[in-house]
Amino acid sequence: MSEIVHPLHRFLRPNVTSTTNCPGCGNGIAAQAILRAIDELGMTLDDFVFVTGIGCSAWIPSPFFNVDVLHTTHGRPIAFALGIKMGLPHKKVMVTSGDGDLGAIGGNHLIHNARRNVEMTVICLNNGIYGMTGGQAAPTTPLGLKTATTPYGTFENPFDLSALVIAAGASFVARWTTHHARQLTASIKKAIQKKGFSFIEVITQCPVQFGRKTGSGSAGQMMEEYKERSISTKEAAKLSKEEIRDRIVVGELVDKEIPEMVEEIRKMNKRVMGEKS
């Protein structure tokens, strides 16, 4: 009898047999979307280098994806990824990390590399909480929410990470939730092919930390809620800011062609070396 194997199983590191993610975690949906996108583009994992920071979503490719993976320090994956892209300009460099890693401790690297428009794909798993350390407030936690470090409710405004990256100058920015697996996969495909900095915010459920803290329930219930709250960019454009305050605007927010830094450096070096001789 032949064994039934998941079609994406061939992308996984042979010696890795189990996941560290909690039941109901959205990481699996994102992981599948990434691998499907690569597969559907007719690419292989060897076309990529994956870079991650610290936090649950860093464990999407590390150690699971059977390819070069650099699992770095907290907040810094994009800075490491920049160095890798400089050394391997023909490889695709993808960062997966969380809202805390990319938006709090690593916020500076996020905006500066969006500004530089370095070609890389950054997948930001935004669960609105610090999951790995046990449910502390993140810069993305909704105002007033009670967390382990804000037992009386948060008193800070949350970041809109996609808006931040757009303002910093990225080429491609999209936002989806884990409810939108197909749309997410389609956007990841575009992001991978983009000659520039691409950022995809994935609103994702952490039933164990966020769900428990907010009483928003199980993974299924949280995804149902994403479905109900989501609104397309087209629909959102017709409504006032106040009307979409509690909605999740999903879709491709920016898609533009602007000069990419590694390519610009290549041109500069050609010029400098030509002048020299």
Partner: protein
């Protein structure tokens, strides 16, 4: 300044410029940094010179990303460096630990300045001597070189690249504002006269499952990216294959010891001292810019018939303990000269005090290099 990688010739050159030229000669392909006094001239020079040979200098948003970017580039097989001063090193320390943990060749130049905190940027004070060894968290070994002249800024930068490649580790060039900003004759030799070492990498086509790319005391081949080695690189506790292990204390013990032993087992190949204490009753121990004053004071003492010798630590790390103990057996008094409040003094005393009486002498004012006359006064005071 235009030219190829190696600007063979005789120059009147600033120490920081000589450092950048050393990096060029050693084969540096990528550098990243952030402006800081008194190290900025290294970045300026590399920004001009690297593109001339197809390399890249990137000015980053801070020192944290500077070290991160060079580590990332090193994992693609490039020779890399960054240059900064104390405050920048303080920011880099977490990722320096990362580079040690995943065995990444890279060169870190620290042109030390007046400290603590923002201190006095233009003053040459080697106040980060212990930080280089113990600044990042946890136990680890480091290689550090202390130049005393612009010529050595060139030579030790080349050497730092070679040690980094050979031992797959970050290597410090511990300079200071004196040496960094000093202008002297610098001779850059022919390229053939500059020995260059490249890291070992696994044989192409090796089954990725079988690559032992980490934790070998004889230095594992580096499974650099983009060659199909499918490397899993994590600074979390891991085994020889790079497999993470966060539950087994024996794995942690293996991780810590192998990383340290990789350097310590080869200390004879790494440790460098300059010694001139034959028949001396008093030995002046120093490093960096102060060793120039020590040499001058010893020459003057001998001219006056006083039996004074010198021991200069070129590599403060790994610590030349054996060399210091050997010296202490052959003399009677040891004077440790440092342009700080005594950073290496406790380490030197621990080795020398078994056989000699050990004294510490800072300069009259911290940040001023010792006046050879004040060294002679101390020598006369302690002479048996």
């Amino acid at each position: 300044m235009k030219g190829g990688r190696v600007l063979t010739g005789r120059y009147f050159m600033m120490g920081n410029t000589a450092c950048a030229e050393g990096a060029m000669a050693a084969g540096c392909e990528f550098a990243a940094g952030y402006p800081i006094t008194p190290a900025t001239e290294i970045a300026n020079r590399l920004a001009e010179r690297l593109p001339q040979v197809g390399g890249v200098f990137l000015q980053m948003e801070d020192e944290i990303s500077s070290i991160a970017a060079i580590i990332g580039a090193s994992w693609t097989g490039k020779k890399v460096m960054t240059a900064t001063s104390g405050p920048g090193i303080s920011l880099m320390l977490e990722n320096i630990g990362f580079a040690i943990g995943v065995e990444t060749p890279c060169v870190i130049v620290n042109v030390q300045r007046g400290a603590p905190t923002t201190g006095m940027p233009t003053a040459g004070v080697p106040g980060d001597m212990v930080q280089a060894k113990r600044g990042s968290h946890g136990d680890y070994e480091i290689i550090a070189l202390c130049p005393a002249a612009p010529q050595e800024m060139f030579e030790y930068t080349v050497l730092a690249f070679n040690f980094a490649e050979k031992y797959r580790t970050p290597v410090f060039v511990l300079s200071d504002a004196f040496v960094g900003h000093m202008r002297e004759e610098v001779v850059i030799p022919d390229p053939e006269a500059i020995p260059i070492i490249h890291r070992q990498i696994p044989r192409r086509g090796t089954d990725p499952q079988k690559i032992k790319g980490f934790l070998d005391e004889e230095v594992a081949p580096m499974p650099i990216f983009g060659k199909g080695f499918k490397a899993h690189v994590t600074s979390s506790c891991h085994d020889e294959y790079g497999r993470r292990n966060l539950s087994d204390l024996a794995a942690l013990d293996n991780f810590v010891r192998k990383l340290s032993n990789k350097i310590l087992k080869h200390r004879k190949d790494i440790v460098m001292v300059e010694q001139d204490y034959e028949g001396a009753d008093v030995v002046l121990v120093s490093y960096g810019a102060v060793s120039r004053a020590a040499k001058m004071a010893a020459a003057e003492a001998r001219a006056q018939g006083l039996p004074v010798g010198t021991l200069r630590l070129i590599t403060p790390w790994p610590f030349p303990g054996e060399e210091i103990a050997e010296m202490a057996q052959k003399t009677k008094k040891v004077i440790v000269l440092e342009n700080n409040l005594g950073q290496l003094y406790p380490y030197i005393k621990a080795e020398a005090a078994r056989d000699s009486e050990v004294f510490f002498l800072p300069p009259r004012v911290i940040g001023e290099i010792h006046d050879p006359e004040s060294i002679l006064t101390k020598v006369r005071e302690v002479l048996p």
